[in-house]
Structures are given as C-alpha cells and as structure tokens.
Amino acid sequence: MSNRIVIDPVTRIEGHLRIEAVIENGVVKDAFSAGTMVRGIEKILKGRDPRDAWAFTERVCGVCTTVHALASVRAVEDALGIQVPKNAELVRNLMFAAQYVQDHVVHFYHLHALDWVDVVSMLKANPVEAAKIAQSISPWRNNTAGHFAAVQNRVKKFVESGQLGIFANGYWGHKAYKLPPEVNLLAVSHYLDALEWQKDLVKIHAIFGGKNPHPNYLVGGVPCSFNLEEVNAINTERLNHVGSLIKQAIEFVEQVYVPDLLAVAGFYKDWAAIGGGLENYLAYGDLPTNGYGDPSKFMLPRGAILGRNLNEIHEVNGKNVEEIKEYISHSWYSYAGGDANGLHPWKGETEFNFTGPKPPYTQLNVEGKYSWLKTPRWKDHPMEVGPLSRMLVAYAKGVTDVKEVVGAVLKKLDVPITVLFSTLGRTAARGVETQVVAHWMKGIYDDLITNIKNNELRTHTRYRWDPATWPAEAQGVGMTEAPRGALAHWIKIKDQKIDNYQLVVPSTWNASPRDGKGQRSAYEASLIGTPVANPEQPVEILRTIHSFDPCIACAVHVYDPEGKQVHQVSFY
C-alpha cells in the first residue's frame, strides 16, 4: 500500500519548504520538494548602483546575511577587476569563519539535534549519571551534576507552564529516538550553553562590520580601519577581544560540539546507510589566501565530484556559460526562449509563472511545475552542495587538516569513509568542518595581527570606486560557500547600473524540483529508501532534510498567505 504524506512547512528552518513523500511498506518510494514562496530580489536590484547591491542581498535572510554580502561585493569586484588589499581578505575570511562556526553549532543544537534528542525524555534523567557520561567525553566546565539538575529544573518549569515553545512540534516519545535520558539531558544542557555562546562569537561581525545583524561590507575592501591607539578604530582592545572570542570558539567546538556529535552519532550508526541520495558533490570553495581570482590557493578548495569517485576532482568555472545552468521545467517561472532550455545565470531571467493550485491545496501537481525554486545543474548533473561536498572535495584534494580530522572521526566511530555518503555523514561532515575552520580562524587572526604590527594598515582600494572609471559593460561572478553550501551571485553591469543580477543559492541546488530529464535534486534523491515507522510522525524524513541545513529564505521569499506557523502533516 502506498500513500503520499505532506510535510508543510518543514519546521526549524528559515523560510518555507514543503515535502511530499510517497511511502510504500514503511519506506519512502518517491519524494517531491517544493519551495512554496517566491523570490524576487533580482527584480529589486535591477537598475541600482552595483556598489549598493550587497546591502539588499544581505537582507534576504537573517541566518546567512554575511555570505550574501560577500558574494555580492565579490561579483562587483570580479566584474570591475578590483583586487582587495590583504587585510581586507583576512578580515573577510575571519567574518566568514566566524559565521561558519556559529551557524554550524546553531544548526546542530537548535535545528537538528531535536531530530535525535528527545527533550521530554531528559526530564526523567539522573543528573549524576548524566554528569558521569559527560565527564567521560569532555572536560567542559558545565558538565556537572549540579548544572544538569538546574537545567532539568528550568526546562521542567518551562514545560509545566504549558509553553513548550521552541520544543513544540516534536515527536517526543517516538521509537526512533534512541538516546538514554541522561544523554538527552546532556544534549539539552549543551543546547542552552550553545545559545549563550553563539551570541558572543558573532560579536566578531559587529567589531569588523560595524554592526550586527546585517554587518557592513564594502566593494574594494572592508569598511573598518586599524589603529592600535585610536578609540574609534579597530584598536588593540578590540583585536584582543576578537582573539579571545576565537579561543572560546575553539574551546566550545572541541569540548562541547564535537564530543556531543560523536556521542549522539554512536547511537545512530544505522543512519550512515540512509539518506545518501545523489552521488555528485559540488564546492565552489572559499577562504582565499592569494586573492579571490586564485582558487588554487583557497583553504577550502573548489571542485566537483561525480559518481562518488574521490580519485578525480573536476574543475569548476562559474564563468563558463556551459557549466552552471538553471532549468525551470518544474518551476513556476517562464523563459522568453522556452521553458525547456537551461540558462546560465548571466543570461538568467526571473519571470514568474504560477500555474499551481490555489492555496489551500491538498497535493501539488508534480507532473507539471510544482516549486518556486529553479533547478540548477552543473554540466547537466544534479549536485549536492554543503559541508559534506566541501569536506569530500577537500579530503580528495589532500587538505591535511581535513584529512586528519576526518580520519580521527572515522576511527572514533569505527566506520569506513563510505559512511560519509549518508544523513549521518552530512551531519558529521559539518562537525569536522567546524573543528577545522575554528582552528584556521586562529591562523587568519595571527596573520592579520602580524600585518598590523608591520604597519600594513590598508583595508580598502579606491581603484575603480568611481563609476566614471568603469567600462560601459561588465560582468562578474561572486562565488562563495554559505554554511549550507555553494552560493554565487552573477552580475551584469551596464552604464554604471545593474542590468541583471542572479543568485543561485545552496538550497536551490539541494531543494530544487526535478529537471526536465526527470533527474532528482539532492533532497528528493536523499529521501528515497528512508524508513518511516509512523507516517503520522515522519521524524525520519526530518532527519534527512535537516541534515542538509535547509534555509529557504533566500531561495524563495514570500511567506504563505495564511501565515501558517504550525507544523502540519497531512495524508492523501
């Protein structure tokens, strides 16, 4: 017997995602992923000053604001041939790395952990036992029976007041939850520690970007100046503050996040065989050390993997109009030249063409158009993007730090590298990356301090700031890696204004509908074969979808007309 279940919206994500899954004999047979909000930032940008684009793109989402600003200034710099000074590269790298570490930790504890951790179960845990377990895996200062008891009390009060709040909409008590109450308590306690800690780390954005949220960026460099003695500049005191935040970040990642990840993963090894999906992985790479124009010197390398063949890394070129194309066979758009052709983003079009059912509807017509997301392809291959792709490309390219941490994790869990091609692997790769990047932050910071001490204080170039110096027409691409995957902005400048602007965001790669050939994208592919014990509580589907760290706010943009907030599962 087969039935199709609908999860709309998928909760604990930014934006609005709908999953329809066909379940047969307790296993997902087919799946459809739909973005049910529309995006139109491209239309807002047309005709504006390219130097202002970052400030608009940064507002598309509250989670990865900095990466959209970075992609935007890079696109403009690329179009105009601007190279930023070394200090600007370092500051951008620091902001990038801070975003990664904060976002990955928040994803693990606040968006993903509740798929594995039963909050209600922790209420019956023994805090003394929980402390014993916690102390056996980490020296973290809050791993005490007293602290765990206090957390238990606090959550108990919260629950007793009838306000489950952020813990609402969980499938508590579902048999897919396998952690003992004590491990659940440990995880929830660290959930709260992570909340406290993450808000400190992002002060790095306020220090270098002037404010947070939505820190300032600048075409040609960074909008801050260094002067060790000056009160209003980035001075010794502020730099020391950044240094101590980095130290705390490394401590939190090593003493809390990674040990918890390994502890939880140990109970869910069966998920190393579920949720693999696509066999192709794409990473644009980031953290340049010799300028954005030299990807061979990126700390996170660029490349594509096909068919899980780690022995061959394909080169990726965002400017080759034959490589990255967006298709709309199943998307609510129309192309002037016909809907069957793919368009490279420089030639991209954003014409809405909604042909779906009028809400509220029971089921999407998946034979036709069924999503507001376009379908991007690399050389016509569907690609997964995200931490797993980045770590696989880095591993295959022999990045030493990545190889070491991946090796250590696999050894600890006693599993082969092939387990990475899974839901658990995706979640583990994010932890690996966090640990590597947290340490890299320290190195980037040290380089910055050395520069400043050597009196290299330049943070901005005036080259081509003045539009009068621009060519009549120019085009560029700003590629980066948002925490959740490959992100790029393509810009065309004409007569000093934006003529065309297209974003291809990570969730478009992962959450898009099928292409015209019927090839599934990452979410749809990864759900095939997922066991679902109880279709009324499809926590298994959430585990796989959340493992991608979905964030749809920039992929699609308008909230649904009913302002629905409550998780719904329906059956048809």
Binding site: I13, R59, T65, H110, L111, S161, L195, P213, V558, G563
Partner: protein, 153 residues
Amino acid sequence: MQEPRGTLVLGLGNTLMGDEGVGVRVVELLLEGPPPPPGVTCLDGGTGSLVLLEPMQGARRLLLVDASADGHPPGTVRRIIPRFASDFPPSLSAHDIGLRDLLDSFYLLGESPEVVLYAISIPWPQELGTGIAPEVEAGAAQAAAMIREEWAS
C-alpha cells in the same frame, strides 16, 4: 552596544518585502529624530534571528516593533504585553525561527525583562519591493511617537 540594563528598542522586519519592513522603518524614524535619552538604544534588527539574543540580553526593558498580519486596518498600532511567545499575533517574517522562537530561547536562558510589543498591522500578502504604503508609514510614525513617550517614562 547598549548600556547594560537599559532599554532596547528592536525593530524587526524584512525591508525587501514592502510593509513587512515597517519595524525597521520605526527604528529609522527614531534615529532620525532627537537622540534618545541615556540608556536607550535603537537597533535595526532586520531579519536577524538568534544573533539578536546578544543585544537583547543586556536590556532591562525590551520594546519590540514588528509588522503584524492581524486583519486590522493597515497602519493600526497596538501595544501588547506578551508573556509567552505564543501570545504574539500571527508572525510574518519569512522566518520559521522568528520572533516567537527568539523570545522562547530568551526566556529559556532565564531572562525576564519587561517586554512590550508594538505590532503594526499590514495587509498580507506583500508584494516584493522596498517601499512602505502611506497608511503603514503613518502607523510607523505613530508607533515612533508612542515609543518616545514610553522611553521618557
């Protein structure tokens, strides 16, 4: 950074979604006017999510300003004292981790400042764009005036 234990006026919303950005507009209006008294900070929270916990935690009094699709005539300003996140009117931002979750997290951390919400009614759904309709702009001005009165008290 605001002074510890002061008042934080936090305007929320997405300025790319027309009237939805009215909370941010109120903060702009407040910053354009005479400077707030010592201890009062106005912050454009934009579409910020958990990063807002940091400025929020320093505050003794939180004045939140957000758009609301509550069916009242556009531009209606309502001053609400919510206790729990679920007391909030239908939230709007394209955020699942919205104001409600933010406040829940805040309370979970053991914070208990005075929280006031200024909800400004807007029509829904919104077209994409960066402008605010005149009647909603009038609501923003009214909310700004009310907040000035409140922070003086």
